[in-house]
C-alpha cells in the first residue's frame, strides 16, 4: 500500500494495549496522583459490562474516579427488560467496584416517544450528554467503555467527546481512551432480531450520500461478520451504492474466518450484489488502528481515482465486532475533520437481543479480551 498518507494520518503511531498490557499501563499511568478519571460506560445485561472498569480500577494504585453510567431502554420488546435480573446483577457488581456515590446515572431514550413512527434518537441523545464542555473539565483522563453500549450510541458518543477535546484541548491536555471487552464466541451467542425498519446514518457521521445537490458515486465498505445477511441486504437497499468493497477480517484468530465468511455470503455478494472479487479488502481482526489505516487509504484511493467525476461519497457499515467498528469510526472521524471527503456510517441496529444458552454464555464472559485504544492525550503530544 502507498505510504504517502502515512504521515498525515492522525493516529499513526498509535497506542493499542491488550489484556495484561492494560493493567501494566494503568498501574504505571496512575502513579501520578493528580489524575482524575471519568469512566463512561453503559448499563446492560452483557456479562462484559464491568470487566473494563474492574481491570482499570484494580491496578495497584488508588484512582480518583467518577463513573458516568449510561442507562438506555430499547423499547417494548427490549432485552434489557427481559434480562433485568442480569442488568441488576451487573449494577450491583459495579457498586462493589466503585462506590455508589461516585456513579452518575444518565438515562437516554433510544427512540422518540411521540408519533406513530418511532425513530432512533439514541445517537443524538447520547452525544447531547456531553453538550456542556464543563463536564469534562475536572478530569485528566476520560475512558469510554463500549462493552455494554449498543452501536447505535457509541459512535456518536465517542465522536462527540473527541470533537469537544479537539476544540477545547487541542494540545492533547486530556487523555481519552476507549475500552472494549471483546469476545467473539460470546458475541455469537447473542442473537439480534427485529432490525430497525428505517435505517439512518449515525449522528455526526451522516456522510454525504444524502445530499441531493451534490450527487457523487457512492462507495460502500461493509465490514462483514457472521449471520447478518438480512442486515446487509437492508443496508444495501438504503445506501444504493455504485460500488461495493466488502471488508473481511484477516489475519484473524480463526485463520479460516474470512474463508468461512465468503462461504456464508458468496451468493449474496457475488450473485446478488454483483461484487467484483478484487474489491475485497482485508483488515486485521484484532487491531482497529490498522483497520482505520486500511480504510482511510481505500477512501483516499477511491476519491483520487474518481477525481474526474467530482470524487465520491463513502459509506461504511459494520456488521462485525465492536473492535473493528472502532476502525470505521476513526476513519470517518478523520475525514469529518479534514472535511474533504464525506464518509458516512450506516449501521443496522436491532431492538431485540437474545442470549442463547445463558449458562455457557456466562462462562464465556470471563474469557473476554480487554483492549485499550488510546485516542488523545499524552501519547499524541509531540
Amino acid at each position: 500500500m502507498d505510504k504517502k498518507i502515512e504521515d498525515k494520518l492522525r493516529w499513526d503511531p498509535y497506542v493499542l494495549l491488550r489484556n495484561s498490557e492494560v493493567t501494566t499501563f494503568t498501574s504505571e499511568h496512575f502513579k501520578v496522583t493528580e489524575r482524575k478519571v471519568l469512566y463512561v460506560m453503559g448499563s446492560g445485561f452483557d456479562y462484559r459490562m464491568n470487566l473494563g472498569i474492574r481491570s482499570v480500577k484494580n491496578s495497584d494504585t488508588a484512582i480518583d474516579m467518577d463513573c458516568l453510567l449510561i442507562q438506555y431502554d430499547e423499547g417494548k420488546s427490549s432485552s434489557s427488560r427481559k434480562y433485568k435480573p442480569l442488568v441488576d446483577a451487573n449494577l450491583g457488581d459495579l457498586k462493589t467496584i466503585i462506590p455508589a456515590e461516585k456513579i452518575i446515572v444518565k438515562h437516554i431514550d433510544l427512540w422518540t416517544a411521540a408519533g406513530k413512527k418511532k425513530q432512533r434518537v439514541g445517537d443524538k441523545n447520547a452525544s447531547d450528554v456531553f453538550d456542556d464542555p464543563a463536564l469534562l473539565a475536572p478530569y485528566t483522563d476520560i475512558f469510554v467503555d463500549i462493552s455494554a453500549l449498543p452501536r447505535g450510541i457509541y459512535f456518536s458518543l465517542i465522536g462527540k467527546i473527541q470533537a469537544i477535546i479537539d476544540l477545547n484541548y487541542p494540545s492533547n491536555e486530556k487523555n481519552f481512551f476507549i475500552i472494549i471487552s471483546e469476545n467473539a464466541e460470546l458475541d455469537s451467542h447473542i442473537k439480534e432480531f427485529e432490525p430497525d425498519s428505517e435505517l439512518s446514518y449515525v449522528f455526526g457521521f451522516r456522510g454525504g450520500s444524502e445530499l441531493t445537490s451534490d450527487k457523487k458515486e457512492v462507495i460502500w465498505l461493509p465490514i462483514l461478520g457472521e449471520g447478518s445477511a438480512g442486515q446487509i441486504e437492508a443496508a444495501h437497499e438504503k445506501i444504493e451504492p455504485d460500488e461495493i468493497c466488502p471488508v473481511l477480517p484477516f489475519p484473524s484468530r480463526d485463520p479460516r474466518r474470512s474463508d468461512a465468511l465468503l462461504t456464508e455470503y458468496h451468493k449474496l455478494l457475488f450473485d446478488e450484489l454483483n461484487v467484483e472479487g478484487q474489491n475485497i479488502i482485508y483488515v486485521p481482526e484484532q487491531n482497529p488502528f490498522e483497520v482505520y489505516r486500511t480504510l482511510a487509504q481505500t477512501v483516499k484511493d477511491y476519491n483520487d481515482t474518481l477525481h474526474s467525476l467530482n470524487g465520491c461519497d463513502i459509506v461504511i457499515s459494520t456488521f462485525s465486532s465492536k473492535l473493528l467498528s472502532i476502525g470505521a469510526l476513526l476513519c470517518a472521524y478523520e475525514f469529518k475533520v479534514l472535511n474533504n471527503i464525506k464518509v458516512g456510517i450506516l449501521n443496522v441496529d436491532s431492538s431485540g437481543y437474545e442470549i442463547e444458552d445463558e449458562e455457557s454464555a456466562q462462562k464465556m464472559g470471563d474469557k473476554s479480551e480487554l483492549f485499550l485504544i488510546w485516542l488523545a492525550g499524552e501519547s499524541y503530544k509531540s
Binding site: 420488546s77 422518540t112 408519533g115 406513530k116 413512527k117 425513530q119 434518537v121 443524538k124 441523545n125 452525544s127 447531547d128 453538550d131 456518536s156 465522536g159 462527540k160 473527541q162 470533537a163 469537544i164 476544540l167 439480534e192 432480531f193 427485529e194 432490525p195 430497525d196 425498519s197 428505517e198 435505517l199 439512518s200 449522528f203 455526526g204 457521521f205 451522516r206 454525504g208 444524502e210 445530499l211 441531493t212 445537490s213 451534490d214 438480512g230 437492508a234 444495501h236 451468493k267 450473485d271 446478488e272 450484489l273 454483483n274 431492538s351 431485540g352
Partner: protein
C-alpha cells in the same frame, strides 16, 4: 460477461425498471389514468398515488422524468414504445416533436424526519428549516430536470438556464433574481449543505445562520415562463412528483399537505406514498384531491402481469451463460403421481360412500362417479367436488325428503369455485402439488417483480442443476410445489430477522392464517375456494370510540402497529371493493400471496371475512 444465475442479480432490477419494466407496465397504468380522468383533470388535480411497496409507483413517476420522456420521443415509432407514446400524447405529456411537461421527481428519504426529532431546535425553526430544505431540493431538482430536458450537461451547463422570475414577493434574500441557473443552483445547494452540517455537527451551530423559509415558494417560482434556455420556454407545465411522502414524520406530512392544499396554484402536484392503515385526509376526495390506488389497478391485470413476468424471466434467462430457459411445467406429471392418485381414488370413494350410506339422495351421483370415464386425476377432482356438494346438501337439508338427486343438479352445483376448492382440498389431503406453473407463480408474486425474482431465482438455480445432469430442465409440478413451499417457509422463518415488532406481527399472522385455514377447509367449503383476507368493520367497534378514529385510539395501538408494519413490509395489501347498496366502498386486507403458500391457502381474491377491531386485537394478544 454472462453470469450463472441472473435471477439473483439485484442491481439489474433497476436497469430493468428503466427500460423493459416501463415498456411493459406503463401503457397499462396510463390506461388507468386515461380511463379515470381526462388530461386537464390529471394535470390540475392534487393527486395521491398509493400502493404497496414494490407495486410500481416509483416506476410510474420515473416515466414522467425528462430522461424517460426523451428516450420515448426519440424512439416513438419503434414497436416497443409506440403504445406508450400514444398514451402520453393523449395525456398531453408529449407532442410529436416536443416534451410538454417538466417532470421534477423528489424522493423523500428519512432525513426530513431528522429535522423533526433533532433536539435543541425550536418548533418554529424546525418548520422554517423544513421548508427551506424542501425549497432547496425542489429547486436543484428542477434545474437538473431542465438541463436534462434541454439535453444539456450537469453541472457544466447550469449557466445556460435563465431564471427569469421577478421576485416581487421578496422570496430571495441572499441572491438577486433574475439570475442564471448556476447562481440559483449554488444558492439552493448551499442551503441544503448548511442544514446538513447543522444536523451532523458534534459542536453547536446556531440555526440562525441558516436561511429559513416560511413557505414553499419553490413551487411558485419554478414555472415554464421563468425557466428559459436560449431565451426560449421549453415546456408548458411543471409536474412536481413527491415520492415516498410517508417517510416524512406525520406532523411534517400533514403540514405539507395542508400547506399545498391551501396554496393551490395551477401547478401539478403528485404525491406518492405507501398505502397505510391510517392516512386518511381530513378533506374531501374529489373536491380537494384525487387518489389513484395502484392496487386496484392491478386487480384487473393479472394476465398482463403474468405476461410481464414471463418476459422478464426470458430476458433474465437470456443473460445466463448456461443457455437454459426458464420453464415451469403447467401440468401435473401423472406418471410421477400415479400412486398418490390411485390411493386417493379409493379413499375418496370410500368417503363418499360413508357420507351417503344413510340416504338414497346421492345414489345417482355415486353412480355417475363410478362410471366416470377420465384420468385418475380427473376422477379424484370430481370425487372431491361431489364430496363438497354432498356436505353442503347434508348441512342444509337434514329434514329433506328422501329422493334421488339428478346428475343434472350435481353439475349445476359444481361451479368454478367448487372446482377450485376441490383442487385445494385434494392437494392438502393427499399431498398433491398445488402451487405450480407460471400462472401460479405470477399470482404468488403479488404484483411485485422483486417478489417474483425471490421465488424465480432458486427455481432457476434448480433448472440449471437439472440441466447439469439431465436432459429436461422443466421442473415438474411436484417439485415446483415442494420448492415454492420451501421458499415460503424460509421467508417465514426469516421474518423475525427482517421486520420490526416481529413478535406481534407473527402472532397476528399466525392467528389470522389459522382462522383462514379453518374457514377455508370446512367440509362445505363455504367461501370456496377459501379465505385469505379480512375487512375491518369499525361500525361495530366498542362503545365510546368514534368510528373514524378507532384506529388512532390508544387501545388499538398494537393493532395499528401490526397493520402498518404488515403494509409497510408488504405482508398485507389492501384492495377496495364495491359492496352493498349505493356501491359502498370497502377496504379488504389480503394476505400477500406468499403467506397463502406458507399456510396452504388459495391464491384467489374475494374470500374475506368481516372482523371487528377487537377481534383483530385478540389475534395479537393471544
Amino acid at each position: 460477461m454472462k453470469i450463472r444465475n441472473p435471477f439473483l442479480l439485484r442491481a439489474s432490477e433497476r436497469i430493468e425498471s428503466d427500460a423493459g419494466f416501463l415498456r411493459l407496465y406503463s401503457p397499462l397504468v396510463l390506461d388507468y389514468f386515461i380511463d379515470n380522468m381526462d388530461a386537464e383533470e390529471l394535470w390540475n388535480t392534487f393527486l395521491f398515488i398509493r400502493s404497496s411497496p414494490g407495486a410500481g409507483k416509483s416506476s410510474l413517476l420515473r416515466l414522467f422524468e425528462p430522461a424517460s420522456l426523451l428516450t420515448l420521443l426519440n424512439r416513438k415509432s419503434g414497436d416497443e414504445f409506440k403504445e406508450l407514446f400514444k398514451r402520453l400524447k393523449k395525456l398531453n405529456a408529449v407532442s410529436d416533436d416536443r416534451i410538454n411537461v417538466l417532470g421534477v421527481n423528489l424522493t423523500f428519504t428519512r432525513n426530513y424526519e431528522l429535522l423533526e426529532s433533532f433536539s435543541g431546535l425550536q418548533p418554529g425553526v424546525r418548520d422554517r428549516l423544513f421548508y427551506s430544505l424542501l425549497n432547496s431540493r425542489i429547486i436543484t431538482a428542477s434545474l437538473r430536470a431542465v438541463l436534462s430536458l434541454a439535453r444539456l450537461k450537469f453541472p457544466e451547463d447550469l449557466h445556460k438556464i435563465e431564471f427569469n422570475y421577478k421576485d416581487e414577493k421578496l422570496y430571495f434574500k441572499k441572491i438577486t433574481v433574475p439570475c442564471d441557473g448556476r447562481t440559483l443552483y449554488e444558492w439552493a445547494a448551499d442551503i441544503e449543505k448548511t442544514i446538513y452540517e447543522l444536523l451532523d455537527s458534534f459542536l453547536p451551530i446556531s440555526p440562525a445562520s441558516i436561511e429559513g423559509h416560511s413557505e414553499l415558494f419553490s413551487l411558485e417560482v419554478i414555472r415554464p415562463e421563468y425557466m428559459l434556455v436560449d431565451g426560449k420556454c421549453l415546456f408548458d407545465r411543471v409536474l412536481f412528483m413527491l415520492d415516498d411522502v410517508h417517510k416524512l414524520s406525520s406532523k411534517q406530512r400533514d403540514g405539507l399537505i395542508s400547506h399545498l392544499m391551501e396554496k393551490r396554484s395551477s401547478t401539478s402536484i403528485w404525491l406518492s406514498e405507501r398505502l397505510e392503515a391510517l392516512n386518511n385526509l381530513k378533506t374531501n376526495r374529489g373536491r380537494d384531491y384525487e387518489e389513484l390506488n395502484l392496487e386496484d389497478y392491478w386487480k384487473e391485470r393479472e394476465s398482463k402481469f403474468e405476461k410481464l413476468l414471463t418476459s422478464i424471466a426470458n430476458k433474465r434467462a437470456a443473460e445466463s451463460r448456461e443457455d437454459v430457459e426458464f420453464a415451469l411445467d403447467a401440468q401435473q406429471n401423472e406418471l410421477e403421481l400415479a400412486d398418490a392418485y390411485k390411493e386417493a381414488k379409493i379413499v375418496l370413494f370410500a368417503t363418499i360412500s360413508k357420507l351417503s350410506q344413510e340416504t338414497i339422495r346421492f345414489n345417482e351421483w355415486k353412480q355417475y362417479l363410478e362410471q366416470f370415464d377420465g384420468t385418475e386425476q380427473e376422477y379424484c377432482e370430481l370425487a372431491k367436488q361431489i364430496e363438497i356438494i354432498i356436505h353442503r346438501n347434508l348441512a342444509r337439508s337434514e329434514l329433506a325428503l328422501e329422493y334421488t338427486l339428478s346428475v343434472q343438479e350435481l353439475i349445476e352445483k359444481i361451479d368454478e369455485k367448487v372446482v377450485q376448492a376441490a383442487r385445494l382440498f385434494l392437494s392438502r389431503q393427499f399431498n398433491l402439488p398445488y402451487y405450480f406453473s407460471m400462472a401460479t407463480l405470477s399470482k404468488i408474486s403479488t404484483n411485485n417483480v422483486e417478489q417474483f425474482l425471490g421465488f424465480a431465482a432458486p427455481l432457476y438455480e434448480r433448472m440449471l442443476s437439472l440441466n447439469l445432469n439431465q436432459t429436461s430442465v422443466a421442473i415438474s409440478a411436484y417439485v415446483q410445489d415442494k420448492e415454492i413451499r420451501k421458499i415460503a417457509n424460509q421467508r417465514w422463518k426469516d421474518l423475525d430477522k427482517m421486520i420490526p415488532e416481529s413478535g406481534l406481527v407473527i402472532r397476528f399472522l399466525e392467528n389470522f392464517c389459522a382462522y383462514c385455514s379453518s374457514e377455508t377447509f370446512r367440509s362445505t367449503a363455504p367461501y370456496a375456494p377459501g379465505v385469505n383476507g379480512f375487512h375491518i368493520d369499525a361500525t361495530r367497534t366498542i362503545r365510546l370510540i368514534k368510528e373514524e378514529e378507532w384506529l388512532s385510539n390508544d387501545i388499538f395501538i398494537d393493532l395499528q402497529t401490526v397493520l402498518n408494519t404488515c403494509l409497510a413490509f408488504n405482508l398485507l395489501h389492501v384492495r377496495e371493493v364495491m359492496q352493498g347498496k349505493k356501491g359502498q366502498k370497502k377496504n379488504i386486507y389480503y394476505l400477500n400471496r406468499w403467506l397463502c403458500v406458507k399456510f396452504g391457502l388459495p391464491l384467489s381474491y374475494g374470500g374475506w371475512r368481516t372482523k371487528k377491531p377487537d377481534e383483530l386485537l385478540r389475534w395479537i394478544k393471544r
